[in-house]
Amino acid sequence: MKVWALVLVAAFVIIGISAVDKNKFKTCSQSGFCKRLRPFKPEKSQYSLNLDSILVHGNVLSAEVVTIDAADEKRTVLWKYAFKLSALADGTFRVELDEADPLYPRYRTQLALDGEPKADGLKLISKDDGKVILVNTQGHKVIITSEPLKLEFLDLNGEVAVVLNENSQLLVEPLRARREKVEDEDGDGANQLDDEEGTWSETFQSHHDSKPRGNEAVSLDVVFPDADHVYGIPEHTDGLALKTTTSGDPYRLYNLDVFEYILDSRMAIYGSVPVMYAHGPKRTVGVFWHNSAETWIDVVNYGEGNVVSSLVNLVTGGQKKRVDARFLSESGIVDMFVLMGSTPGDAFRQYTALTGTTPLPPKFSLGYHQCRWNYMDEADVRSVDENFDVHDIPMDSIWLDIEYTNKKMYFTWDVVKFPRPAEMVANLTAKGRKMVVIVDPHIKREPGYFLHEDATELGYYVKDRDGKDYEGWCWPGSSSYPDFFNPVVSRYYSDRYRFENFPGTSKDVHLWNDMNEPSVFNGPEVTMPKDCRHYKPPQDGLEGLAAYWEHRHVHNEYGLWNLRATNTGLLDRADGVYRPFLLTRAVFAGTQRYSAVWTGDNTAEWSFLAASVPMCLSLAIAGNSFCGSDVGGFFKYPEAELMTRWYQAAAFQPFFRAHSHIETKRREPWLYPAATTALIRDANRKRYALLDFWYTLFYEHTVDGLPVMRPLFQHYPDEPATYPIDDQYLLGDALLVKPVTTAGASSVEVYLPGDGPWYDVDTYVPHKGPRITQPVTISKIPVYQRGGTIVPRRERVRRSSALMADDPFTLVVALDANNSARGSLYIDDGETYEYKNNKYIYAKIEFGPDEMTYTLASEGAQYPTGAWLERVVVAGIRAAPRSARLQQDGRQTALQMTLHKGNDVLVLRKPAASMARPWTITFAY
């Protein structure tokens, strides 16, 4: 959902403008620390590591770092810092720099990491010439130059892969006590900082930020030698490969509810995941900037045409390729993880090893979701549900946006429009469908509303700068916001999701947390003021400013705390038996552990359809594989062709949900001309035929941490042509998708990487790359299966995924040059955690000229599925076998085969093997 305020919407439309109001959101020069520190790039870094203080213990090197006044011959120490370098499992390092003795503790982001990272060994190799050299167990070396402080991370070939502080932009602004208003006492210049405008307060538009702790920014630069491109740091709208930011603003990370966000922009929107990858033919590496405050990131790619070549030589010393990045945050500490790769997959996995993977979703959530702001009452829901059956379009869930509540008081129902929610849900579940309802974090300040009364009485709300309950304006009008940072509040909030506390819900009602940036209509930049106060565990000696966190420290993490509390509630309400589904708009590092994400309030325009691919790809490599965009576009109305193409594209994106604004024309599939409805039906059926392929990919993601939706360069890291591609992508390593995202297309250009062949999934016609022109009609979705893979399908598409549980499989074998292929299949009950008790099937499927085998790959895992093997389709067969025999459970059956000579496709008719147990098909020639 959601927009700012309806009044505003009206105003925009009347004057015919349909794009973001940029004035509402800060540019770098309007954000105090960005304005102050973006130009910060001293000739020489003041930071220096005290070699005598080095201590290596276990996987950690700790040392004292000091800043030294360079102008001073006496080398006066300006400030002292605590430095830590940790070696972590799987080729990962962590660099931390905090003040040695800060005035108050500085905020360390709490929830991004999926537990304490696993340690690796760290060995000190040498310590001389002002350098320290260390190595981890894999053999990655780290060279620390003590003065000025610089860290070089070497790949396994001994080449420098990542450099920190090469550009001298390391900075930790020391916390200072605010002086009383006295005249400059000593006039030594050190106080100038104190007096500088904006140190102790800032104003943006009419919003005043009291900044009681003064300046506390942190900064660090990273150099990636040999890199062609850097990627990541979602959520932005300007493409997968990041661009040089020397003109215009840096990329900004600050979770914001941006009304009618625009494309090709580095503006902050709903999500912030500060992980960046650098890739070139030599290697892939990454860095994860572990910080939840407002962050700006500059990028300079020296390989880009528009960076002046003389500058390139000057800076890079003649290196042809290099990308520099610089992370600048308003508060916190310097805490940088360095991911050593060396392949793209390695780096992506190293990131999910730190922040977690998306847990196996309930299977229904991979199906099609039907949403609108709003389905107005129970009759509306019923009629939408029935119409999907009338038009024979598979659908797994109907969603309710904010209007289902009693006056936007969450955990309540509008009893006039929704008098019998349990019955309504039962109508859906009778056909295997689910319901998803919205619960936003803002709480209506309404006397008599239990949640408000409890929160007020128990002090559960976020506090304003004066320590009173913070009041903002959101959907319900005057609202306050639970302080999830307090474990008691989170617990209380989780308990609201218990079935008895949220009548009408059941295990089949899933959740949607929107507006959790948090969105505050009347707040600065439509969010919470930075000087609001959050809970901090009480601790002796911590009083005053030290007794709470400010919103500025935790802003990007707020949504994550909201999601964690919801997730806990959803697990607990079903005693940990059923897997919950949850969708969020705000995103931060770690969000993937709790929730699927979507790209927010987009617009029904072709450009937004096209943008859904790079936006979700960026989120996917940043851990959030379960991503999608509002099908059709949230604002405005998609005409038939755009709607068709959007369904076709989204059918091949992980999260597949149609959604629309309350003021737009209704657009359920049958409201279009019959031909369009039929095309939408086809798109949805294509999705459902591949549901088990998706489900298997998501299962594998929980094991290997790799994205489900992948950029081409992940599997073709040596093909530079793939590096900038973000209008096509891979699903797993088997399917390549090139959605049609332009009006009136009669063909699309497709890049087919590797040796191929790539088989058109509609015709089984093999194609060789690297580039083909694919003719398209309005019904065509260009999707290709890589030679050498096996994709499981279920051709019997039913009303919902649950009804297909025991339906038979078709295995599509796409042969490589060696006439072989492999694939996998995951099966379980689709909704519980029983798979953790070994109640599942994970099968490896291999095809060779002599036999095809289906073997259970997980020791001891079993699941009594009724599914069976209906058909094997072998594409690209050159020498057809004379006969085929199936063996299962010690029985042999001769199989019927049909060879389609026109396209070299062999079909094995009805082997009827159970998918619960292994089988083999042998071929004779």
């Binding site: 024309k665 059926r685 051709e795 009805k910």
Partner: protein, 523 residues
Amino acid sequence: MVCKTWIDRFSSYFVIFCSVIIFAQSDVPRPRGVSLSKASLYLPTKDFTCFDGTATIPFSYVNDDYCDCFDGSDEPGTSACINGVFHCTNAGHRPQNLPSSRVNDGVCDCCDGTDEYANPTACTNICEELGKEARAEAQRVAELHKAGSQLRIDLIEKGNKKRNEMAEQLTQLEKDKSEAEKIKAEKELLKNDLEMKENEVLKVYREAEELEKQKKLDQEKETNLKESTEHFNRFDSNNDGELSVDEIKVVNVFDRNKDGQVDDDEVKMFLGGDEKVDKDAFLSTTWPILKPLLMMEQGMFKPEDAKTDTTETEAEENHEELDADFEGNEEDNSDLDLQEEHEEDETVSEQSKSYNDETQKIVDQASEARTQYTDAERTVREIESNIRNIKQNLEKDYGLEQEFASLDGDCFEYEDKEYVYKLCMFQKVTQKSKNGGMEVGLGNWGEWAGPENNKYSVMKYTNGIACWNGPSRTTTVNVNCDLETKITSVTEPFRCEYKMELSTPAACDDSSTSQEHTSHDEL
């Protein structure tokens, strides 16, 4: 097995329906999911040919849970083909054709439960129950239509009567019209005659006035020229007969926006885009802009009064125009006798003029004649408008037998939680919030929009108030048979497209209900 099942069913069919002929037909053995009409296409003794003719397969492949035909015809009783059709007989109720994806999916779709044969205990046969309910409902509807038809006859009578009355009215009005036109013609003659006389006597006065006016204009022109020349010479500091940008920039009065300097925009405005102006250009271009500013500076002049000040903001201009229109109307009404093209001030002056007694008398007589003519003209217009209305109503489609005619103009209200809806038949639909606020038009009478065979079952009201960012509101009224005319529900299924259910005896049709009984084609 299949035969046994059919024999088991036999007895129940017999007891319930005693329809020997139909029963005999249903005894035809056929594969699962095949309707009686298609049974002959599935002959166990022969290979099966797909309906589309694309393949012929052994009969054992029919319903073997593997799709062999592109058209799905080989798997009528399984879910194997995505485009297959499963037929359930639903004895005791209506038969059904289901997409084959509904077969054995765990949901009971056929009331006889035959679609879930893989799990025989999953569904119970509820066809009898449903059939009974359906028949009872059909019965109820039939009775309702019967009773409603009596009331409908009354409505038809009323409707016809109303139309007859209107026709009579129309005749009367036509008569009245010719009468009134006659009077109008007489009055016009009289008026023209008197106005001629009036013109004659007023001529003298007008000529004198014209002269006076011209004199005044000449004077003004002269003053203006003098004044502008003075200013030109003053600004032209180097006396080269041209005003340059530099010369302008030092003169305060050109600082239009009072920001302390004469900027380029201001120069451009005053010089009409040129670098310099000579005296003539100054007079024609610069001076008209400059003069009001000078006057303002000197406090002689307030911008609100400046009709010639072209730089006034648009809003103010509009405001003025509105005022002018308003005054103009007043003028029309109160001084019909005077030339309309005259400006307001002149009109006033003419009124205040005094004529000699003789002249005054003729002017008064002419005024009186004009008033009488206007009245006569108005009467004709009113009659014509009445005629138009009645004709319009007579042309309206009130149903096959005028059954809706008497309802024209009747209004019905419906309240929900937030709104009161009002339907005025053949006029309009409105919505009013219970919390106050304006009445919103949801559409004006458009047309009957029912299906071809039942045109009078749906009314369309179109062109209501436009939604922001959307179309204008429309309302579809479904017209159902009941004994009383009332609205039974209002919804907004689509944004700005309202749906009303209206029940009325006018929609009851004794003959139409016979169709309802004929659905049991296969028992």
